[in-house]
Symmetry: C2
Subunit: 218 residues, 2 copies
DNA sequence: ATTACTAATCATCGAGTAG
DNA sequence: TCTACTCGATGATTAGTAA
């Protein structure tokens, strides 16, 4: 992604392009960005090609809307500024419990991970994860998490395949000690994986779709 | 200011460059920004020349710190993202009453302004302004105000000089109707000028240095 | 190991203009 | 009016290298 694309997205967002298609001529955008109509036109084309915006090119004015990928880029940027201007040592993220595909459990069974968890967290987690789907304004907070260091979990090789690195953050759900684990090579995700010594769903009586507030230590 | 300078400032801020000098080699910065050491070096020089950062170039690693002008640029950017992700129709800014130089009163006496105020606000303001000095985290909110449209006040010419355009926002102090006026050609400022039908300082018993909370309508 | 100069490369921009 | 092409000018980046 080109460096100035975030800036372009920002201006579209300021005009309401997050919620809906907004009418925005290349000249308008160019003026707002301090560039020519031609450059603005090209930027819009590039944003579209990169899947950052959707475009509705009518016969008159084009209309643009920020796509999911573009929203994510903006949230990332916003998260950086929150980290700069509102530094905190704890943060609460709320999500809804969602049943994973059992992938979490597979990873948690790997010795390469288990050993590191015992060393960094002081316990070997239950072989299964509580997945929390994060939505709406809570996503900005997730972006903050992505930008933080956390406790590093190294990647390794086993059984002929490679297991990527990750980072964990100590956290609490309803007073119970747990941790969030995030892959380093993070594709766009809106799901938090929570691990704990115990089987959280059972211990806390969390059902599918229940809202869960996670108090995370940064 | 070059477009990529904000991004460079952001990375310095993320490393703590807002509070103190932080050790930051051009290679480190380059890696963080995804550019070469040479480019990072040049960017730092440009930021310094533009007065956006201070630099302490020791014999080994240089140390950088974000200057007032750089902080302002970051706050402006942050304000944009707040407007995008936390839209509000009202906002409270707190400042401390400060005695202006009587400049406010001079401008308020101009017919060109008075007539417009009567038309847009419904009253002719008292010939004098309550100045509020804004500091700390409240400055980010001021930046939000700078980005908003407000009610436009046109510039004009009178007595052989030109009076610049401005924008006003309806507001309330302690329940009393008032308005904030901001020049369009805004130099870096941390002072809000509040106008009202009445002599606010007297009516509300506001003394020099008193904290005043302003509830602004966006 | 630094920072930063110069020169060559490459990306970006906008004027002109077509559709 | 609008979008968006080509292409020459401008500006940014990097490799090489000095200090």
């Amino acid at each position: 992604m080109k460096p100035y694309h975030v800036d372009t997205l920002k201006h579209i967002a300021l005009r309401g392009g997050l919620k809906d298609f907004v009418s925005m001529s290349s000249r308008e955008l160019g003026t707002a960005l301090g560039v020519s109509q031609q450059s603005a036109s090209q930027r819009i084309l590039e944003l579209q090609d990169d899947g950052l915006i959707q475009r509705d090119l009518g016969s008159r004015k084009q209309r643009v809307k920020i796509a999911a990928k573009g929203l994510e880029a903006l949230q990332r940027e916003y998260a950086d500024y929150i980290r700069i201007f509102e530094p905190r040592d704890r943060m609460t993220i709320t999500g809804r419990a969602t049943s994973g595909l059992g992938e979490g459990a597979f990873y948690m069974r790997q010795r390469g991970y288990k050993d590191q968890f015992r060393k960094k967290l002081g316990y070997e987690p239950y072989e299964g994860t509580l997945n929390l789907k994060v939505a709406g304004s809570e996503l900005s907070k997730l972006m903050i998490l992505l930008g933080e260091k956390g406790l590093p979990i190294d990647g390794f090789e086993a059984a002929g395949r490679t297991f990527g690195g990750a980072k964990v953050f100590r956290a609490k759900v309803k007073g119970v000690e747990c941790a969030v684990i995030l892959p380093i090579r993070t594709h766009h995700t809106d799901v938090l994986e929570v691990i704990s010594k115990d089987f959280l769903r059972g211990k806390l009586g969390i059902g599918e779709g229940d809202p869960v507030a996670l108090d995370i230590e940064l």
